[in-house]
Symmetry: D2
Subunit: 386 residues, 4 copies
């Protein structure tokens, strides 16, 4: 997946200063396949912090900004200004930041969830649609090779009609009131003003829902959610139990939790159809279980016998050499680079290139909104308002 001959894409970043988690991940992801060069940034709303972060990264101080709107304006005018921007702020800043770049034709690579509110999500769609630039949402789990293979297998009918989708994403880092200790990540992620009305359901449930849809190809029809804030004083859910109904009759369950001791980042998907089942777990991502009904289950490993072209397209190294989270994240960036280059060249998207977009983002925010409404009404069936 290494760049072959093409020039690197000039990248800017909004958010991701010192102390942030996801900004550093985006930078590694952008760099891993040598597709991008980070040349500008507004790393914090605190000017000193933004500048210190820019210096850490060895950027030209003239291209380290205090304000993302100023950054968008100036970069758009520079001859060698950024071609794309990564937006890695807390959720409530995604839309205000993204719109500044979109309206100037700068491609946006935005962290998930799309926005903190459904109203903003719809504005983001408009901003993206009216822009000539691309909008890429980093639902990074879709970048794992075996997730790609699972999707391809379902699409090829290897499971037959899908009946049941079980997806879960338990963590344990909010088992206690970490937000009360001043920990930055816990702070904004449990603050509805910055994170949105969903807690675990927004932070990780959206990943789980996106993954389920990405692999199964199914559209969500209705949810029935029972959400809790187990930790006293917490302002958003820290555990969500959701029943899922899909268009066409398939059913599912989704569980997100941040209070399940012993779970790190245990996203796991199981899909069952008339002809077989698939299982995948994020913490052991190079393995995909395939159980054709009536046969012994097969352990398919990335790059090994049984692994197909959809996985191979987004792999870097041979089987048995584990690729992980950063590689999957990098794949989103590298797919985006292919799309950006195709757009620039006016050519079709190369075969197989795939990335989550603004539509996936709206689906995610609508899912959160539906779950919140369902649970608030005592756990009734609600249709997502897309």
């Amino acid at each position: 997946m290494e760049r072959k001959g093409a020039a690197k894409i000039r990248l800017g970043m909004v958010g991701g200063g010192r102390d942030a988690f996801i900004g550093g991940v985006h930078r590694i992801a952008a760099r891993l396949d040598d597709q991008y060069e980070l040349v500008a940034g507004c790393f914090s709303s605190t000017p000193e912090k933004s500048r210190a972060s820019g210096a850490d990264l060895g950027l030209d101080p003239a291209r380290v900004y205090d304000d993302f709107a100023a950054m968008a304006q100036r970069e758009a005018r520079l001859k060698e200004g950024i071609e794309a921007v990564a937006i890695v702020t807390p959720n409530h800043m995604h839309y205000p930041a993204a719109k500044e770049f979109l309206k100037r034709g700068i491609h946006v690579i935005c962290d998930k969830p799309l926005t903190a509110t459904l109203a903003e999500a719809k504005k983001m769609v408009k901003a993206a649609e009216s822009s000539g630039a691309l909008f890429v949402l980093t639902h990074n789990y879709t970048g794992y090779p075996m997730v790609r293979q699972a999707r391809a297998m379902v699409a090829a009918g290897e499971l037959g009609a899908i009946r049941v989708v079980q997806v879960e994403y338990p963590q344990d880092w909010l088992t206690e009131a970490l937000e009360a200790t001043g920990q930055k990540q816990a702070g904004w992620r449990t603050d509805p003003e910055r994170s949105g009305a969903g807690g675990s359901i927004g932070d990780i449930g959206t990943h789980a829902m996106n993954l389920a849809g990405f692999v199964s190809g199914l559209r969500l029809e209705a949810v029935c959610a029972d959400m809790q804030s187990f930790v006293e004083g917490r302002r958003v859910d820290d555990n969500a139990h959701v029943l899922l109904r899909f268009e066409g009759g398939a059913r599912g369950m989704l569980w997100s939790s941040q209070v399940a001791p012993g779970n790190e980042n245990a996203l796991r998907l199981r899909i069952y159809g008339e002809k077989g089942g698939l299982e995948w777990a994020q913490e052991e991502p190079n393995t995909l279980w395939h159980a054709p009904f009536g046969e012994a289950p097969r352990r398919i490993r990335r790059g090994y016998a049984g692994s197909d072209g959809a996985a191979g397209r987004v792999s870097r190294i041979p089987s048995g050499h584990p690729e992980g989270y950063l590689e999957a994240f990098a794949t989103i960036y590298t797919e985006a680079a292919a799309a950006i280059r195709a757009r620039a060249a006016g050519t079709a998207l190369p075969e197989g290139v795939l990335y989550p977009g603004v539509g996936d983002g709206v689906d995610g925010v609508a899912f959160v909104d539906a779950c919140v409404r369902s649970s608030a009404r005592g756990g009734v069936w609600v249709t997502p308002a897309r």
Copy 2:
């Protein structure tokens, strides 16, 4: 757990003839610890089959019956008649058979679910309460040593207050319309007349629910169920998704399925509290995972360091020598034997002896009934009618 000095208990059996599955399991379970001697039986409603089965087992032909009522009458009058009877018929025959023995003071060891209907379940309670005999329900999964340990750990407060209970029991043997092929097990288990209104929820969902309650010590408050019959023409559910609310505020999810390819008998329980989590899976039953919050998870194995007295009481062999399903089932029988002997001797139940009874059975049937009603009404919250 081997018998030490005491005489064997004389046992009869109703059901369990040639072709049956669970009857043979009960016989091994009764024999394994040398606590019982099978001396009589009515193995089938077809007289020839009953007799042939009795001959296979080497029983005295005079004690092989065509009719369970006749068996109860005669055995009750014999000087060395049976002291206990195992009832291993399809569900709808549990009550008619059990009451004949209960009213004659013969202890009953009955397969689950208790009955096919809630009305019958309530009659069974009365029959058991008005009898001087014991009633034991073979929720066999409660016999696993690591399940016993899990229960003891929760009871001792090692997890703190319980917040979340995730339990599931997927299988795949009904992925296709096996009942249409004449297969006997599939036939009665998908026939509401013989099995009750629940399909997967009655056959295996009751086991899952019982296990969740046994380990967590929580009482079910309400369910919201979405149940399907994915296989065309099937008359009962083959997949059930259930949200659980427990008294005191804990929440849970239960999934039972018989159409999940790649799953054999994958009962699995996960419990999370304020202070830690536990995980147990029936297919690898000698292992219990314990994750104290803030510490590295521990793999506790039966008989090995970390395994406690509650597990040791019901273990037969050292760690690393796997005990399985039959041993757990035998534990129910051996616990019942201890109870029967204590009853006969007029002494207290020995410390630690534990077995599921008629109350657990009613809880199970009420759970099925509530799920069926919830799902029939489109997936609303329903309180079990106990």
Copy 3:
């Protein structure tokens, strides 16, 4: 595998009194499929202990003996005397006890290893050959269904010519000087007078070697062993590293250890041929991994798709209901029962019946002898003296 119609075989036992481990296992194994009835025993060389043990088991006191020779004499003369005897003493008593029964035509079911010395092993062969009775050695791991399947697959050529055999059996219970604490099992198993010259290599290495030969069908040609007694003062090896050469060119490694912390009873076999590989682990015995070269590996589970007749013949319950150590042990007894009945009836051994015999026992003792000699000479290649 339940007895069908035939009478139970009358069984005696030598050894296995209170405090013993393996005697209780043999009794459960004899009972599980209802094939035997224990009617006599000499449970200890201490008369009081023998009698107390007989009383625990509910035996007729007249058939509880202080002396195994007296037991053999009297039982041989009784009209309904024992037909078979289980010998479960420490190793050095196997031969003295067995010969008394063999010469009187009483079938012997003997724990492993065959004897404590090679000289005695050869005498045992003669005693067995000159007797009309059967000799069965309880290499119980050969009774696991998936071990049977592995053997059948190799025999059917599914792996092609075998190249490499990796077998290991680590434990940790002798990590410290347990024998110095008075623990009975540790005492005799580390005493060369009672156990033989091999420590871990005799106690568990023989199991590993037997399993490797049973599945691979290969004959051992030479060994090169490096054995240690890591615990100070220990008189036998507690860790053994052995290189294996097989007739025909295959090579292997065997590791036995009783000082490997974290290992319970971790017998594990891996076999690789020109066309594929197999892996099996005793602590998860219902699973067999099959990796046909160039295809995704398959997880074959007992009773599930991919599991064959060789496994099915010795299974009792459906897939997903784990069978364990006791069931595998019981299979040795049940196979022996089939052989005893065929011998009594003068008919051929029923198809598929398989059990380890005195020849396997000599192979095991010769293997230990060769390892001890190899290691004593500094780790040179030695041919087993069969």
Copy 4:
């Protein structure tokens, strides 16, 4: 581990053109933490191929060379010439290439094994010792966080005195005569002229041996090896069984194989001491098992509770977000960058920085040499000639 403020190190590469495997890995590793900039290269001994590879990578054509000696000469004279060079050729070219750079004071980052012969290895030591530049050998598995933690735990005495080291590295890609098909990797790796006298033992056995020494801290004293070429016509071993004796009395086993179907890259290390055991497997690298004797084993995961500073120093992302092979490889590069910068600044190596050097390389080549000699003499004990 991201670069903070310091300038990127200018890097060249020898080898690693189109079709190569490991060159691309080195480039990602160099880039991942943003520590290096690739600015020059001699990617192939075929000039066209070297140039095409340089163009793929976007290098200035003036710095793409046909000849590594010319590259060393010119780059040494350039004002902004390379500071370090990555050598990723087949083994027999490591020394000829490295010496050109070492003698000009350019740091060398060299793939393993150090050289194809022991004679060359000793020359490499001299070249490294007489150079002012650093020599880094990419035994990349030492870069895994949980390997670092294992080493730190052993060094801190958590296992007590080490007794047993079990290490293995099975693969299956040479199960058939792949070298006969023209496959490039198989070609040179089975050619003793290019690879050295060791086949599997040199290619992967050296990794296993290095890992065992890195974690245990033990020095190898003697080996006894039995090596085979199972595939007809193969000129080097494809399977090696080795007994290990360490200074101080610990013992071990090493198995390397390229003909074990079902194995991808299954490097696995187990270490047992008086007080506990550790297990680590490369294909699931974020997990380290720790079994303190007498306690339940703990599953330690990178970044999660129980994971220590030695692991944390070389981690990039939170627990549950799997890091893999490329990250571990990048750690070697990032550690080298720290060493290069300290050397340039004349300061001490920062605390914790650790990388394999030329001494480790000689140990590896001496190990291969000893195994080859041992096996050639029929499997006798041989002391490595360091």
